[in-house]
Symmetry: C2
Subunit: 334 residues, 2 copies
Amino acid sequence: MSDKIIMAHGSGGKLAHELIEKTFLNALANPLLAKLDDSAVFDFKGRLAFTTDSYVVKPIFFPGGDIGRLAVCGTINDLAMSGAVPLYLSLAFIIEEGLLRDDLIRILTSIQATSKEAGVLIVTGDTKVVDRGSADKLFINTAGLGLVPNGVNISGSNAKPGDKVILSGTMGDHGIAVMSQREGLIFSTLLSSDCAPLNGLVADMIEASSRIHAMRDPTRGGLATTLNELAAQSKVGIRIEEEKIPVRDEVRGACEMLGLDPLYVANEGKLVALVGPEDAEAVLEKMRRNSYGREASIIGEVRQDHPGRVVMKTRIGASRIVDMLVGDPLPRIC
Amino acid sequence: MSDKIIMAHGSGGKLAHELIEKTFLNALANPLLAKLDDSAVFDFKGRLAFTTDSYVVKPIFFPGGDIGRLAVCGTINDLAMSGAVPLYLSLAFIIEEGLLRDDLIRILTSIQATSKEAGVLIVTGDTKVVDRGSADKLFINTAGLGLVPNGVNISGSNAKPGDKVILSGTMGDHGIAVMSQREGLIFSTLLSSDCAPLNGLVADMIEASSRIHAMRDPTRGGLATTLNELAAQSKVGIRIEEEKIPVRDEVRGACEMLGLDPLYVANEGKLVALVGPEDAEAVLEKMRRNSYGREASIIGEVRQDHPGRVVMKTRIGASRIVDMLVGDPLPRIC
């Protein structure tokens, strides 16, 4: 076996079969995947949630995670944000010729560990190899299927005036951790990505309340962009308070140095939920007992006025409009 | 609007929203996609088929198709090969900075036309942009969901001795068409890719017979590799006759010039089916009435002897073992 991936590993022929059987199946084995038919086939009944994301993060290993863990968590979280219980994932690799087989195995091991943590199965997949210089080491796509439990109806368009805005934890950890690794910045050792599967946290929240109206994970574009999306989709205003938004000192320091605002930096293990006010405290309490929600807090509320707009009360007491991200200060963060 | 895709189109921020709303939704609009939530949510009941493939074909436009049509057909065909009726697709783009917006629109238009032809909906998607030199123009991933009708049980492991091997048409058209375009070969104008959605053809075949045991589309690795996969999965021997395998003169000529064997060249609109002998003629007749099966023929049969092996009676009457593809003479063909 060669220690690097070569073009023939993507040929569909003998080496491709060897790669799939020895490397992929070895790491990810489960009965549905092992059939190796063109599709995985299984019974399903109910409200199905279906989502996809590609991952192009650079570098592919970073403090607190890697592209494999990211690809599993990102798609699980997209399902969870719709209130779905994630069940099955597909996994498709685009590999640049020359990738070390050991790096591939390390990433597959991370994928398997994250899938296990989140209770999902990888049931179907694909591998392509492109010539050197036609990709950057490794891109991964995952698509995911989940079951939306009866009675759950969570959508970006369901927010209602009066809803409390609950944030599950600190902002900006993922983006700054990846950035610092990529650029070799000095604070790199102090900070880890928050990359995590949030389906367990969401299950706890749904158990605590049937009034979770909207939920989203503030990834690319950060909290500011996510809140703008929710305000636009639900045609409501959102008001938040700067001093209630938790940001780690290392992240704040790095952002000041780089001229970034933590509200626009990507997260990969955080969520924002818009919850009916009567249930907000119960949801918050439940979240704080989950390891991925320990620092959850209420950071604002949904308003009838200024629909489509997000307004923030700043630390010094002024109000300012928080717009969507413009430009891309931190590319290839996921 | 810029006429090229820039990094900020992948930021998740304002330009990303503009790209999605003005370009993607404009081309692909349907009510499920238009919700723009993290997942598409819909009811489903029955046996579900789930598959994924990434597409890295070079060039992205080729005679008879483009990467968009390929990405829709490829995933539809994987579903159809499991006997499923394809219903929903996800669509994820990895775009290299600098791609012309007009090229993107042309591809989205092709995706929409192919989806319409096949009767599937694009319900969820993702867009990433990477810096120039980190990808090659455009990579697409599609994942697909289909419904396997009651009573249908088609799998690569279900072939039985006695089954007839039915091939839906000529071999090698796609691979040679893409290759000739890429290399600027002289026969390029004579040949088109066979890229097509086969779900209609498969539906006709299933209507004609409940004895379709195994089915697969001979893409990467060609017919030779596909038959080897089926022989291995079902633990049967497969015997085919060279003179019964249809190959266009242009493809045969190009293969001779390039030192390739058409049996190892990729197809994107053909299928091979292993069918109980009592129904083979009925299936064949039905296939020939479908525009994608006009040249269908019986090319061999499944045997009890030499399990796992594919043996071909050559034009001159000798027998030779047909192995899987080794190496990759035609990379990035899909």
